[in-house]
Amino acid sequence: MLPKQEVVAMLLAGGQGSRLGVLTKDIAKPAVPFGGKYRIIDFPLSNCVNSGIETVGVLTQYQPLELNEYIGSGQPWDLDSMNAGVHVLSPYEKRKKTDWYKGTANAITQNIPFIERYNPDYVVVLSGDHIYKMDYSKMISFHKEKGAAVTIAVQPVPMEEASRFGILNTNEDDSIYEFDEKPKKPKSDLANMGIYVFTWEKLRKFLLADDEDPKSSNDFGKNVLPAMLNAGEKMFAYRFEGYWKDVGTIDSLWESNMDLLDPNVPLDLSDADWRIYSRNPVMPPHYVAKGAHVQNSLIAEGCNVYGQLEFSVLFAGVYVAPGAVVTDSIVMPGARIEEGAHVQYAIVAENAVIGPNSVVGKRPEEVENKDEWGVAVVGPDCKLPAGSVVPPKAMIDAEEVEK
């Protein structure tokens, strides 16, 4: 038995993230690059460490290779401690009932032995696809104060958008009386952020009961939480104010990167008291050449910028050739934008090459039919030949380019 940990965090990182298309072709969603030097998973991991949670289980299933490699020993997040630390938990063969993780709740159920090693009082369940900075210790204090079985973080959303979210209907004391999944007529504006604090004893009981139910799809939102509500357990909503974004789609991923360039958006990554840690590239500082033009952008180490850059995020080791123009775009590690290429409203994935004089994406005001506009995506390792045209909303796969 390991020393007791009051809190164990379980990070759900197994989803395919199919809505991100080519970006998650070979990597799990939490490993998708974000914000010039991070990956999405850096946010929940750094939040854990900064909140004093030192035991984290990362539940992986889909394309775990790169994610496993990235997490490694957990050293970049200070999670390589002796008796706690980060552990990657993949499904494994058992004597009875071997299975993939069938649902979010099932992923935790299959790892009850992992959690029990630390004998925790509380288990925090997190998603691997959200960008936010949050002190979980405050939420845990709230949970203790209320004596709740589960506390769910919520954020007020504009009423007209509420029907896109999982809405929680609460009493005056913030206790929850109803779950309303994507309601047509929302009664409340409190959206479920997918951040849960459970009293472990209670969660364990309901997970085991859910596991016995053959009709259950073993999902927190669909099965376990409603079962807890029906059983009359104390469930509370914890209001979180601050930046929070689900980056599960191309548009939201793009928007959230762009938010980093907006000084009015409350997502400050330079805050020394709440650092977002990541595995840092080993590269020299970046170079901005004579004749280059850089406005309102983020540039990471190892970049060489000779062209024009506006409202864009460059990840480590990106090359922007003379005469190339990159605006309102995200260019991921190692990509090259060759001479005269024009990249706008686009995501250029890792190690892609945009050939000379190619045009990727379009400004929304240049597109007549607004339904045809969207962020253009050039997939990892795509080598676009000179003069290529990638229309807005298109998604280019390296294999297609080769054909």
Partner: protein, 370 residues
Amino acid sequence: MRGNEVIGILFAYVHEERVRELTQNRVMASIPFGGRYRLVDFPLSNMVNSGMNKVGVITEENYQSLMDHLGSGKAWNLSRKSEGLYMLPPFGADTRRTDGKIESLASIMRFLQNSHEEYVLLSDCDTVMNIDYRDVFKFHTEKQADITVIYRHGMSPDTDKNVVYTVDPEGVVRDMLIKRGSDADCNYAVGMRLMKRDLLINLVQDCMSRNLSDFDRDLMQRNLGDLRICGYEYTGAAYTITSFSSYFNANMALMDPKVRSSLFIPDHPIYTKVRDEMPARYGLGSSVSNSIIADGCIIDGEVENCILFRGVKVKKGAKLKNCVIMQNCVIGENTKLDYVVADKNVTFADNRTMAGYQTYPVYVAKGGQV
């Protein structure tokens, strides 16, 4: 060369007197360089990239900032169960004469004797270059040398402080001149030597018993006739920091893409301490030209021909030209700087003006408030 054949020994302190400005509060090895590095990062990374996994760092005084930088050696992959990084602070009485290398080596005699590696690579920390020591090792064995010294051919970086070799076509060092410069091209030392550990122990003990204390004169030059000393010519980019202006020029040389590609080789990266800063942020109305910018900088002003280290803030209307600005400095609004080297944590208030000249950059000491 296998990792367990060669120990690295770094002299963290030698030649400090040449750049007094920068070594007031730190050793030579921890002088900041190139936007995110310290000088020690270069020899240390070279050693690690060449497969060496045991490096001792000899310090003398003022080594706190170096300890802080190196930590456990994790960033260089030297925090290992077997071997790794050894800090070798002064041990015993400080009887510093000349450059003190022989006393330093004598004081770590137990470390040298208890090691099992066959060879030792001794390096100063004042030269910025990216060398593969495996090539040197191969040269050393092929030439059946007792000692191999590394040199560069070209104009000596300094007029009167160098070691200059005469090397015959076989690669054997025939003559060695100390504290020399040369107006013409010459073979000047870059402060790195490879030899067997046993030989080093014998030479150091011999010098100590004869009360000889100058490494170049007594350990090397005196043995020129008895030992087979060979010279390995290094042809890549190298910058030896011999004065404040050479420090400035070495930084400025990084603007040249050829120099960068010779110093920063993807397969032989230069490692350094990680700071977890966010990428550099350029504001609306900023203007940057021909500059090296590190993570964590926030730029709202104009920057031209500059090196900005991590976390530098350049406020609106500020104009920086030909400057080296170290970690966490703040340049106030409408402040104009030309040929200024600002050490760490310097704050320039709004509307300040300061200018040096190409041959004489102005230096602002660590933590200064202008």
